[in-house]
Amino acid sequence: MAEVVLKDVVKNYGNVYAVNNVSFTVEHGEFVALVGPSGCGKTTTLNLIAGLIPMSGGDIAIGDRIVNDLDPKDRDIAMVFQNYALYPNKSVFKNLAFPLQMRKLPKEEIARKVNDAAKLLDITHLLDRKPRELSGGQQQRVALGRALVRDPAVFLMDEPLSNLDAKLRVQMRSEIKRFHHNLNATVVYVTHDQLEAVTMADKMAVMNGGLLQQYDSPANVFAHPVNTFVASFVGSPAMSLIPLDVATQGTETSLRSPEEGWELPLSPMNARKANASSNGKVVLGARHSTLKLHRQAVPGAVPGKVYTVEPTGDVTFAQVFISGAVVNISLDPSVVIAPDEKVWVEFDQERMHLFDGQTTMALQAA
C-alpha cells in the first residue's frame, strides 16, 4: 500500500486541456473518488495515474517513487474497468492468474493466490467458466479479483459499477466499500455519480473542465462547496441557486430580486459575505431540507409559485419558481399543495450559501 501524489498534472491535446494543473494527495489506505460530469477529465486523470497515456506536464508519485516515465506494468497498480475488460478467450482462473504469470510467479503460488482471491469474492465455482458465461455481477467480481490477486500498491477503478443494474449496483457498492475496509487498500475511484462518491469515499475530488474544483471529505464538500459548480453537483436533489442583487441601505444589507423586486434581509454574518461580492451580485444557494414553505406571507420569506410536486413516499419534493430560478424544497408527505399555488419560502440564514455573482466562488465574510 502506498500514497499517491499528483502535482501540477497537465494533459493537453493541442489547445484542449483535458487535465489542467491538477494536484492532490491520496493518503495511504484512503478511498478517493474522482467525480464530475462526463468530459471533466476524471478518467483522463485516472489513466495518467495508471500510465496508460503520457502526461504533458507535472509529476505523479506512487509510494516514494516518481512514476512519470514508468510503464503501467512497473507502477505496481491494479485497475478495474467500466466494461471489466476480462480477457474473453481465457477462463476465469486464467484471467485471475494472468497478472501473476506476467510476474513469473511459480505455478503453485499462482494457484494458491487465485484460489484465495476466488474464495474472498465467492467466485470459486466459476473458475472454469469463460467471462461471457457469467452475469454482470459475476464479471464484476472477477474483475475485482484480478485486481486484488496481486496485492498492488494502489487500486484504480474506472466507473466499475455503471454497467450494473440499479439493485446490483447498490449491493456491489457496499461490497467494494467492505473490500476497501478489509484490505486497507489505497483506492482511486472514478465515477460520474456523486451519490457513489459521497457514500463510498473518504475524500472526493470534484472536477470540471479539466480543473480540480474541490478536494475534501464528502461531508465538507456537501457543507462547504467552494463554488456554484460543486454546490449544484453534489447532493440530490441539487442545491438550488438563485442569482440576486446585493442591496445596502445604511447598515442593513439585503438581497433583492432583479425581476420581482422583493428584498430578503440578511443576518450580519451573511451581510458581510454579500458585501464581499466583486460585482454587487450574488448567487444564493440553499439545500432543499433547509427551506420552509409557507402559505401566507411571513417576515423574512420570499414569494414564489409552485411549479411541480413530486411525492416519493418518504418525502415530497416541491419545485418552486423564485425570482426566475427553480428551487427544490422537501416537504412532509402530508402537506398537500398544488402546482401554480402562490407560496412564501423562508431561508435558514445559518445554512444558506452565498457565491460571488461573477467568479461563482463561495463568499467569505470580509
Binding site: 495508471a50 497498480i77 485497475m79 475488460a85 480477457y87 474473453p88 478467450n89 497478472p99 506476467m102 484504480l156
Partner: protein, 294 residues
C-alpha cells in the same frame, strides 16, 4: 359430448402463394446451375478417355470412368507429371510466401491504423482502399518495367511482390475492422497486469483476432493461387511457371488433351475448395464482424 376430430373442424386456410419467394428460389436455382454445371462437366470430363471426351454427340455420363488422367499427372516419372508437379509446387510456394508475408505486414499495419493516431493516417488508409478501385491490368506495364529495373523479371519474387500489393489493402482493411472491435481496455488491462505493449498485443489481441487473420490468409492465398495475367507476363521460363499459366500449355503442347486439362484444373481447384470449406466459419465471421457493431 361428442368428440370431434380437430382437423375436421379446422377450416382449410390456403396461404396465398408468395410469388416473390418462388422467384427468389428460381433465381437461386439458376445461379446454382450456372456455377455447378461447369464444375460438374470438368469433373466428368476428367475421368473420360481422350476418345470419349471428343465424341459427338457428347457422352454426358462417362461410360468407362478412368482415373488414368490423374495418375498421369501425378506420376513424377512421366513428362506431363513432372511439369504438372513442378507447376503445382511453384504455385504453392508463391501463394504460401505471399500469404505469410502478407500477414506479417498486414497485422501490424491494421493494428496501427486501428489504434494509433498519426499524421496522414486517414489519407494513407484511403490510399490503401483506392488501390482496389483500379483493375489489375492497369498496373501490368508499370509493374513490369519496375520489375525489370529491379532485375526481378523471371523470378518468383516479382510475383510475390505483385500479389502482396494486391492482397494487402483488403487484408489491412479486414483486419482493421477486427481490431476496431476489440476493446482497447483489454490491452490496457494487460499492460497494467504486467505486460508490455507488445506482449499485450501478442498475448491478448492476437488470439482474439485469429479469425480475421485466417480469413485474410485465405484471401491472399486464393488470390495468389488463381492469378494468371501477371504470372504469364513476368515469367517466361518453363521451370518457373505457376499452375494457371502452366495448365494453359495443355492446349498447345499436347494437342488439347481435354481430359488431362480437366483433371489438372480439378486438382488446381482442390486446395482452394478445401481451404474454404475448412475455414469458412472464420471467413464469414471476419466479413460480418468488421462491418457490424455489436
Amino acid at each position: 359430448m361428442a368428440v370431434i376430430s380437430e382437423t375436421a373442424i379446422r377450416p382449410v386456410v390456403r396461404k396465398p402463394i408468395d410469388w416473390w419467394r418462388w422467384a427468389g428460389r428460381a433465381f437461386l436455382t439458376f445461379l446454382l446451375l450456372f456455377t455447378v454445371l461447369p464444375m460438374a462437366w470438368m469433373v466428368l470430363t476428367s475421368v473420360k478417355s481422350q476418345f470419349a471426351a471428343m465424341q459427338y454427340p457428347p457422352q454426358w455420363w462417362p461410360a468407362e470412368p478412368t482415373l488414368n488422367n490423374y495418375f498421369k499427372l501425378l506420376d513424377p516419372n512421366s513428362r506431363v507429371g513432372q511439369d504438372f508437379l513442378r507447376y503445382f509446387w511453384n504455385s504453392f510456394y508463391v501463394s504460401l510466401v505471399t500469404t505469410i508475408l502478407g500477414v506479417v505486414v498486414a497485422v501490424p499495419a491494421a493494428y496501427a491504423f486501428s489504434r494509433f493516431r498519426f499524421p496522414g493516417r486517414n489519407f494513407m488508409f484511403f490510399a490503401v482502399l483506392v488501390r482496389n478501385m483500379f483493375p489489375a491490368v492497369v498496373f501490368l506495364m508499370p509493374l513490369f518495367l519496375l520489375m525489370r529495373w529491379m532485375g526481378l523479371v523471371n523470378t518468383h519474387g516479382s510475383l510475390i511482390l505483385t500479389y502482396l500489393t494486391f492482397g494487402l489493402p483488403l487484408s489491412i482493411w479486414l483486419l482493421k475492422g477486427f481490431y476496431d472491435n476489440i476493446p482497447i481496455q483489454l490491452e490496457q488491462a494487460a499492460r497494467i497486469d504486467g505486460a508490455t505493449r507488445f506482449q499485450a498485443f501478442l498475448l491478448i489481441v492476437m488470439p482474439l483476432s485469429t479469425p480475421g487473420i485466417i480469413a485474410t490468409s485465405i484471401f491472399s492465398f486464393i488470390g495468389a493461387w488463381n492469378e494468371y495475367v501477371y504470372a504469364y507476363t513476368f515469367l517466361s521460363r518453363d521451370s518457373q511457371m505457376t499452375l494457371p499459366v502452366g495448365i494453359q500449355r495443355f492446349f498447345t503442347e499436347f494437342a488439347t488433351d481435354w481430359p488431362g486439362l480437366m483433371a489438372a484444373t480439378f486438382m488446381m481447384s482442390v486446395p482452394v475448395v478445401v481451404l474454404f470449406l475448412v475455414l469458412q466459419k472464420y471467413f464469414v465471421r471476419a466479413l460480418t464482424e468488421g462491418a457490424v457493431k455489436h
